[in-house]
Amino acid sequence: MSETFLLDGEDIPFEPGQTVMQAALAAGHYIPHLCYHPEFKPHGSCKVCTVKIAGRYATSCTAPAQAGLDVASDTDEVNELRRTLVQMLFAEGNHFCPSCEKSGNCVLQALGYDLGVMTAGFRHLFPDRPVDASHPDILLDFNRCILCELCVRASCEVDGKCVFALAGRGITKHLIVNAESGRLADTEVELTDKALAVCPVGAILIKRQGFAVPIGERRYDLSPISAQALADAPRPPSGSQPCPSCEDEA
């Protein structure tokens, strides 16, 4: 019999090495999250998955599961904190859901609805972020990037290319691509890359596919994100050819 911890009063079994988030999702219990992805080592930057463990805040995607933990996730206090974090992400970039192709498939938008974010909360920063439409098949719209680093991780750890990276610091942190020109068209990116499939928002889009599935019939139109916990249960990465220069990080 496996060991368990408590999540909002319910017993959650876990395997050694799992984090609180991984065990919860595998057991069908949803903890809101953005930068966590079932195929990647968690890195804990968005903080939307923050929970309270024994009265202290912790990042559930990186906190190791341990027998006997008492984890509070779906509480007014923790959800209020998450709402504020989601508001911060909306305020930091330029997110216009009504005109975004990702609407309905967007994790940020789905979280906003699910957590009940009703107001802007912050004065929006309206950063100036030009798009990169250089690639014939792929659009990079930095306005919608939430800096989750999933494409960075996928490109290095799975595609073995390191097409994406982060530059800048603090509020000027931004996504860049690996080309002398700085343009996506001049990178090694290919349509089959894992990095293109993991973007939770509308920052990386395949051209000419935007409305193949009509709005209203998309993933989070059909059922709220909180009802889809099992879809994010941990699973091995699809493909694995780590970038030689990044192996130490994988």
């Binding site: 903080k47 990186t62 911060m88 920063l125 390191c162 990276a165 800048g168 610091r169 220069s245």
Partner: protein, 594 residues
């Protein structure tokens, strides 16, 4: 394409590994005053890292730039103590003299003038950096001279030596600062005791980390010694970035032997063969002297193979320079930076004692901690334990600056009262003291009997004094700007929250604030305090919380009486439309918003 031969010579000074990236970039920056196009790709190729990572690292550190910033790059230290000494006015004066806007490069590519976070010269400010070299005691006359030298294109090597003078200003000595120059005595004693006994003496001494957190040093060393693995590292954290702190600068300038002796004792205790001194970029001017000291110690058999004739005791030290990133003072961010990466704090556990530099067991200790460890290795722990208070053994170096007659370094046994320090430094009209910098606490005059120590006021050493003429709102605002500038950007709450906090403080400063904004500041604190990835975010709201609590009138006199007011003026926004339509009737105005 810049000279590739020159680049190869530079590259040859470093192992051609990804770990060398930051050091290579820093040296290229020093030669070219930026990282020229093409060179970044050549570096990527030589070190075997993606070009995007080279650019990512270059963009993380304030002192590196992919864009040209002029043959002279002037950076004014922007700590509150510099501002109190007139740095802002002097920056304006220099810009005026050079026909320049702050933050912009002159059209002829000659010069740029901007600000940088505290350069650690608070006792002899205002201070600035020219091409990374520290200049202290800036006056209007000195500004004029600097303007002339820049316009004449005079090389820095020909500037008056007095500009670059940095004084120790040691005002009070105790145990540590009274110790003699250490060339092997502590090491000899440590070798005689043996590693286990050295750690036992440290345990007996009660020594706790001097970087502010106060972790028991013996426990850290013992954990690292016990950790699995056959390669271990000793890292001296000399990334003294907390605004208002400069005691490590003085230790490195005048007690370097003691620092290296402490590192070597640590190496003996944990079984390390390699050490790093992580020196903040602002202290670049100390590098040559430190390298000299290392050479002397190698020649004296105190570093290298078979130290002091003991076969198998091999240890050496490499100096790694930072490049302008406060967050690298956090030990796991420092390790990332040592590995040549962006200085992002790691997820913990695992901790550096088991998974540090290159995932090997690593001890990271503050400069002052290592000095104290050397003394304890030599004299034993009991004498050290006898000084100070029950939970805070030994002495503490304070970096005193601000409104006082005698700013500088004061060493006290733990337990000294704030009032005592104020008396000793000649602060006769103190209104407030910022203890341990922006991430520490701000106390008012009702609390001056509180004591320095882990029981009460834990501190990394900063002690900034503000007299009754100072506006504590502006003090807090300076610190808020600091945190927003230094946030690494990894986690959402700190990356966005520090900027939002900055915007709220600006709103209040511009007379647009309300009580609602104070509540918003408190809300931001809950998010940063609760959800941030590291200590920077956790403490980023402290300056505002402390000053709101203790100096509320400084905020309230700026507040509008309305409960809420937008940061912009609704009616004012219609002014242009009124002008264009020629209307000015009641219907063309928005009134009574609330």
């Amino acid at each position: 394409m810049p000279d590739t031969v020159e680049l190869n010579v530079l590259l040859d000074r470093h192992p051609r590994r990804p770990e060398s990236l930051l050091q290579v970039l820093r040296e290229v920056q020093e030669v070219h005053n930026h990282i020229p196009p093409g060179i970044d790709a050549a570096i990527a190729e030589a070190l075997g890292v993606p070009l995007a990572r080279v650019r990512g690292v270059a963009g993380f550190y304030s002192f590196l730039s992919l864009e040209p910033l002029g043959r002279y790059r002037v950076l004014f230290s922007d700590n509150i103590t510099d501002r109190m000494l007139g740095s802002r006015e002097m920056m304006q004066a220099l810009c005026g003299k050079l026909w320049l806007e702050p933050g912009k490069v002159s059209e002829d590519g000659l010069v740029s003038v901007a600000t940088t976070s505290c350069t650690g010269m608070c006792d002899q400010g205002p201070a600035l950096l020219v091409n990374g070299r520290a200049i202290t005691r800036v006056t209007h006359q000195r500004i004029n001279e600097i303007g002339e030298l820049i316009r004449a294109g005079t090389p820095l090597t020909e500037w008056p030596a007095g500009f670059f003078r940095v004084d120790d200003h040691i005002r009070r000595r105790d145990l540590l600062l009274e110790s003699d120059r250490m060339t092997g005595a502590a090491l000899t004693a440590a070798l005689e005791r043996g590693p286990d006994a050295v750690i036992a003496e440290l345990e007996a001494s009660g020594l706790r980390g001097r970087g502010g957190a106060g972790f028991p040093t013996a426990r850290k060393w013992a954990a690292c010694r016990a950790a699995a693995g056959d390669e271990r590292y000793v890292v001296c954290n000399a990334d003294e970035g907390e605004p208002g702190t400069f005691k490590d600068r003085v230790l490195l300038a005048s007690y370097a032997d003691l620092v290296f002796e402490g590192m070597t004792v640590a190496a003996l205790a944990i079984g390390a063969r390699q050490g790093f001194l992580y020196l903040r970029g602002e202290y670049r001017y100390l590098l040559d002297a430190l390298e000299d000291t290392l050479r002397q110690r190698r020649a004296a058999g105190l570093l290298g193979q078979g130290i002091l004739g003991r076969a198998g005791f091999d240890f050496d030290i490499v100096i790694h320079l930072g490049a302008g990133a406060y967050v690298c003072g956090e030990e796991s961010a420092l390790i990332e930076s040592l590995e040549g990466k962006r200085g992002i704090p790691r997820n913990r556990p695992p901790f550096p004692v088991t998974h540090g530099y290159r995932q090997r067991p690593t001890v990271v200790d503050n400069v002052e901690t290592l000095c104290a460890a050397a003394l304890i290795a030599m004299r034993g722990g009991a004498g050290y334990r006898a000084i100070g208070t029950p939970k805070s053994a030994g002495t503490k170096l304070l970096s005193v600056s601000g409104d006082c007659a005698r700013p500088g370094i004061y060493e006290y046994p733990f337990g000294v009262s704030v009032r005592q320090v104020l008396n000793d430094c000649g602060a006769s009209d103190a209104l407030a003291v910022q203890i341990s910098g922006p991430s520490g606490v701000c106390i008012g005059d009702a609390e001056f009997d509180r004591r320095i120590g882990f029981e009460d006021l834990a501190t990394a050493g900063a002690f900034m004094v503000f007299d009754s003429s100072r506006d504590m709102f502006e003090v807090a605002r300076n610190f808020v700007q600091f945190f927003a500038h230094e946030s690494c950007g990894f986690c959402t709450p700190c990356r966005v929250g520090t900027s939002m906090q900055n915007a709220l403080m600006d709103k209040i400063a511009h007379g647009m604030g309300t009580r609602h904004d104070l509540e918003e500041l408190a809300k931001l604190d809950r998010v940063l305090q609760g959800a941030s990835h590291c200590g920077l975010g956790h403490s980023a709201c402290n300056p505002v919380l402390d000053t709101v609590k203790r100096f509320r009138p400084a905020y309230e006199r700026r507040l509008q009486s309305l409960y809420f007011r937008p940061a912009f003026d609704l009616d004012g926004a219609l002014a242009e439309a009124r002008r264009m339509t020629g209307r000015d009737d009641a219907g063309a105005h928005i009134r009574g918003e609330s």
